[in-house]
């Protein structure tokens, strides 16, 4: 029974308590760049989920094989391999999404969520929990992107997932679909999460170097990024 509870906790951890986008503040680039439309954001989320799941499982399986000093390069190669697979699948089956995501599909390789989870979780846990963690984090990422894209598309372009909303047509705030609107909405969402949780959400600081993807090849004693978020 407790086993089941623990695996459920691993799964839901990424969705709410440690949401990668809104609480851990990882993977900011795709969050800002692909949330202009709901379809693009959800597509990005699902692509990242697939890569995250595969790389977590693979890295967890190889956790006793990969030598300590070579782990970051190994992780990057594994992740880049899965990104290539997912990219080819998207190109073959959803060409319109492939067009709209463009270079950001390739950039899943350097998405800090995936490398971060590999380093923080998959390299230390058995396969099943690593897979659950990957799914949970992926869903959390997709939901956060979807929420942000909903705000930006509904108020910025008066449509939802490409379907026009009639009564908002005269009140479009076009600014929201542009670059500065993304930064603004993200800032407001983070402030909202902080206000709702009263700052009780685990701060990045509490992860110290563990939570930082650069920690492995970083020799800075007191780094600026370490105590950065909140």
């Amino acid at each position: 029974m407790s086993d089941k509870k623990a695996s459920l906790a691993t799964l839901t951890n990424g969705i709410l308590k440690e949401n990668p986008t809104l609480v851990l503040i990882l993977g900011t680039c795709p969050t800002l760049a692909t949330t202009q439309t709901v379809i693009g954001a959800v597509g990005m989320g699902i692509a990242a989920l697939l890569v995250l799941l595969c790389s977590n499982v693979f890295i967890s399986l190889l956790r006793r094989v990969i030598p300590e000093s070579m782990r970051i390069p190994s992780y990057i190669v594994i992740i880049a391999g899965f990104v290539t697979v997912v990219k080819m699948l998207v190109q073959a089956y959803v060409p319109s999404l492939y067009e709209s995501l463009g270079v950001y599909l390739d950039l899943i390789t350097v998405n800090c969520i995936i490398l971060g989870r590999a380093e923080m979780f998959a390299s230390k846990n058995p396969v099943v929990s690593a897979a659950l963690d990957g799914i949970g984090m992926g869903i959390g990422f997709t939901l956060a992107l979807g929420a942000m894209a909903t705000i930006r598309e509904v108020f910025g372009a008066a449509s939802f997932a490409g379907i026009a909303i009639p009564f908002l047509q005269n009140y479009k705030i076009a600014f929201l679909t542009k670059a500065p609107g993304g930064l603004l909405v993200y800032g407001l969402l983070i402030a909202l999460v902080y206000a709702v949780t009263h700052g009780r959400a685990p701060l990045k600081k509490s992860f110290s170097c563990e939570g930082c993807v650069h920690a492995a090849n970083c020799h800075v004693k007191s780094c600026e990024t370490k105590g950065e978020v909140q």
Binding site: P73, V77, T84, V103, C112, P180, L183, G187, E224, E228
Partner: protein, 199 residues
């Protein structure tokens, strides 16, 4: 003359109009993380520019003379990220040996650059845009300078924010992102200017 004009247009658009940080959202992590003080922002910006130039100089020939000739275009992603990671390591070793003073200044930022999406982004974008070698180098220079400009501007803004009292929920990242939003809004004003200048 025509060629110089094209190169200038690419350079200026990369710095101002299509600024990687503020308009294309690449390299947001170092932009938010290392922009607290002016000297750190400058160090990071210069290091990124250097690595971008080097990475483009190596990945462009690899793409056209190795991957394309052998029909291995699909390996682009894996090859590029490995090349960048190796380059950063080599650059770090070189700097340590040749110029300890420069290493002191830039060395600490180099490990952070391996997983910087702006560097991978610029190398892939150069291929996607179909640029020639010279155009690719100029576009990398422009993107690097644009990154440096955004970092320097933003560090100035942040030192101002640090002196003010900010409502609790916005403290930290919230207010930082909103400030970045305003800088990005200012940069939107450059849209269309570059083409007009050379028209």
């Amino acid at each position: 003359m025509e060629e110089i004009k094209t190169l200038l247009v690419i350079l200026l658009s990369c710095v101002f109009v299509d600024n990687y940080v503020l308009c294309r959202f690449l390299g947001i992590c170092p932009f938010l993380g290392v922009s607290k003080k002016l000297n750190q922002a400058t160090g990071m910006g210069v290091s990124v520019t250097l690595v971008m130039l080097l990475a483009t100089a190596v990945t462009w020939p690899i793409q056209y003379f190795v991957l394309n000739t052998l029909g291995l275009g699909y390996l682009q992603n894996i090859v590029f990220i490995l090349v960048i990671a190796t380059l950063v390591q080599i650059l770090e070793m070189f700097l340590k040996r040749l110029s300890p003073a420069l290493y002191e200044g830039l060395g600490v930022y180099l490990p952070l650059i391996t997983t910087n999406c702006a560097v991978l982004g610029v190398t892939i974008n150069n291929i996607l845009d179909g640029y020639g070698f010279l155009e690719s180098m100029v576009s990398s220079l422009g993107c690097g300078l644009g990154f440096l400009l955004a970092m320097v501007l933003f560090s100035g803004l942040r030192s101002r924010i640090n002196e003010r009292i900010v409502p609790a929920p916005f403290r930290g990242l919230g207010v930082t992102l909103i400030a970045a939003s305003f800088i990005s809004l200012a940069f939107m004003g450059f849209a269309g200017i570059v083409e007009k200048i050379f028209a």
